[in-house]
Subunit: 426 residues, 2 copies
């Protein structure tokens, strides 16, 4: 049923990047930085395609945007342009493609993934992080308020806060353990030193495409048109710094030392066949306020999310990473459209390349916790295959997120990995 | 004692911009955007100075930065370059200046302030807002916790949070009243509509010059070398949205609809003669942790700050703006160096053009409150000269901040104004 590509590795049933995916990224190769599209184990260099005149049917300004070194010009166009470009790239890579000459020219625009260094895909203007998983909010809330874990605003307001854009790094970068003020217990004096409660947070990010003008909200039925695509986000968190600094203005240094994103941006169009009905709100939950209710809701995204962990001891003993949790994006309480619309509901302007993340995605069951903090509810600490155990991350630990979606009769689509290794504090 | 300029308006004792000030800004004039320095009622166009070869004694890359259309390249150099450029500009504008020919060329690089439109001086990467006034924190805390207004972390942690960079506008822009979720009382259901508790917050902003690398803290004794200069900031706040959304992650839509900055960036060097000893911490307050203690503290900044308000009725009746408060930056609990060092203490990277704001600056006495919320402690609501009164801002209200410093034998240095008028919600 699914279309095949003449790029052989794209037809492997286990690839993240079949012809049906076509995610965008920015890569460095031979000292230049270009825009590309992942296909199997290759990258289609869009700058080279433009030079080879392979994008000719498209408008000149779209072709121009393909020759940029970041994705922001392409992001700014909006969904019509994205669809046209996606269609053209799909034609170029499809096995049904016509002439040998064209195929030869397209092949010359392919770069093997293993030869490149992926970059952050755009200069991120503003980064916002939400708190859209009710299972995460409930488990974290229980640690502080066992009898009343969810705050009264949770089922009305898609809670969010501003994160730090400068410290967003792309998958593969090491993450230095932060130091900060820590107050070990109620009576103790705070002291300054390396965090002892370093955690990851498993999230999905949305890159904003076309923005809105300052002062003008985004109606819920138009919200998804402003989303260029999705990636994975690891919102590294120092829990000990967080608990001492967060009142009354929220997390700050506990989060802004590093955030890791996966390098490929998956277009919403690629994910369209994998949408599923939003689960009904539990009985008794309030109906969302009208500005958050869509007459044409596109459904949740059925995206499986996995976290794996490998310690330095495991690496040295050639023990592969251990999966520590598996969740699904469909378990979010708020949809991506609701997050975008809420963000702009006061007139706040979103700009091309802004990053919005969902917040930690957790499911209801044990084994679907999106961060280590939530695993405090388990009877046992996390045990690794070599006998080590973890409450929080140790130096040398490598945390890797994966995401994929699949459905009977359709190819599997993956996000590529989002990985980072903890290195010792300064 | 003070040097005179041959630009006559710079010698007016009431000007904000004498020869001793020389703040940087970005202006539009005759369809081009350039960097300039304020002098009296004129702007010295640095691009024109470069073309006229007036900056010749400086290094080529500094001259290059002067021809840019934003200040970030100049900011990135660091204090040595700033000092050299400042010295050269001071020479060019000083009344002692030598040749008539040079003077003629400098005069041709002057643009009258009234002919330009000021711009945001740089594309702000990240915006951080602190909470450095203990008087503000105490008065606001009292509204929620009358017996225990200050949270236990306040005297240890310079509390801060991330703000929104996209919605920062320059003085003179109108500010649209935001809509949002509002929950009028404990039992009531929330509804969505225009904020009824719109407030201003009087703050000082610091523009970061040279940054630090991700993972590398900034020692307290080097902190001020990373500050390019200061401006005024109005962190507009919708108190009703804020009180409902802020738990547990802090303010979000209550603040990110607009932030107004004054257009001129006052170099720290210009403020050096106006530094005053930091007031001793009240007896019993904890000593700051060592990373926040400077062996060479430069002192607080003796900067008088004023807020004035003019309603549309007052404007129509030609009643001038009424001063509603006067405070001083020296009343801050945390110094600007402490804010910078704390921000980078976990390795968070600051970049040229990042904006850090102090948070609302209030003094201990009635009349020095930096926002309307704090005035709830007054016996009477704010009365205007035409009989109107205010608890929060109404549509048509124009809020203007001014700041200046003066000292016996030295000229008065001002910041220029930071003003914005509220317009009706969408």
């Amino acid at each position: 049923m699914a279309l095949k590509s003449w790029v052989v590795s794209a037809n492997d049933p286990q690839t993240d990047f079949p012809l049906a995916n076509l995610p965008y990224g920015v890569f460095r190769h031979q000292h230049s930085q270009r825009i590309g599209v992942a296909i199997g184990e290759q990258i289609l260099d869009l700058g080279a395609c433009a030079s080879e005149n392979l994008l000719a049917p498209l408008a000149a300004e779209i072709i121009d945007a393909c020759t940029a070194s970041v994705l922001s010009p392409l992001m700014a166009f909006g969904p019509e342009a994205w669809t046209m470009l996606r269609l053209r790239i799909s034609e170029l890579l499809s096995a049904d493609h016509a002439s040998d000459d064209t195929l030869h020219r397209v092949a010359s625009a392919l770069v093997p993934m293993r030869e490149v260094e992926m970059q952050t895909p755009v200069q991120i203007g503003d980064y916002t992080d939400f708190y859209a998983s009710i299972h995460h909010a409930t488990r974290v809330g229980k640690l502080f308020r066992p009898d009343n874990p969810l705050l009264p605003n949770y089922k009305y307001v898609p809670i969010g806060y501003h994160g730090r854009a400068s410290s967003i790094v792309v998958s593969g970068n090491e993450v230095r353990r932060p130091s900060g003020q820590i107050k070990p217990s109620l009576g103790a004096e705070p002291s300054f030193g390396p965090s002892r409660s370093l955690d990851y947070e498993l999230e999905v990010g949305m890159f904003i495409g076309a923005g809105n003008s300052l002062g003008m909200p985004i109606p819920i039925d138009e919200a998804e048109q402003h989303i260029f695509g999705l990636c994975l986000v690891n919102d590294w968190s120092a829990r000990d710094i967080q608990s001492w600094e967060s009142q009354p203005l929220g997390p700050f240094l506990a989060k802004n030392f590093a955030t890791t994103i996966s390098p490929w941006i998956i277009p919403l169009e690629a994910l369209a066949p994998y949408r599923v009905p939003v689960s009904a709100r539990p009985e008794g939950d309030p109906v969302p306020l009208p500005y958050l209710v869509s007459s044409a809701a596109k459904g949740a995204i059925d995206l499986t999310l996995e976290v794996s962990l490998q310690s330095s001891q495991m690496r040295e003993s050639n023990i592969p990473p251990m999966r520590v949790s598996r969740g699904n994006m469909r378990d979010l309480y708020w949809s991506i459209a609701q997050l975008v619309t809420h963000h702009a509901s006061n007139g706040c302007n979103l700009r091309p390349g802004d990053l919005l993340a969902t917040g930690t995605i957790s499911g209801p069951a044990e084994g679907s916790e999106g961060c280590l903090l939530e695993m405090k509810h388990r009877a046992e600490p996390l045990r690794m295959p070599n006998g080590e155990s973890r409450v929080f991350l140790e130096d040398g630990d490598q945390v890797t997120f994966l995401a994929f979606t699949q459905r009977e009769g359709l190819p599997r689509i993956g996000f590529g990995e989002c990985t980072g290794m903890i290195i010792a504090a300064v």
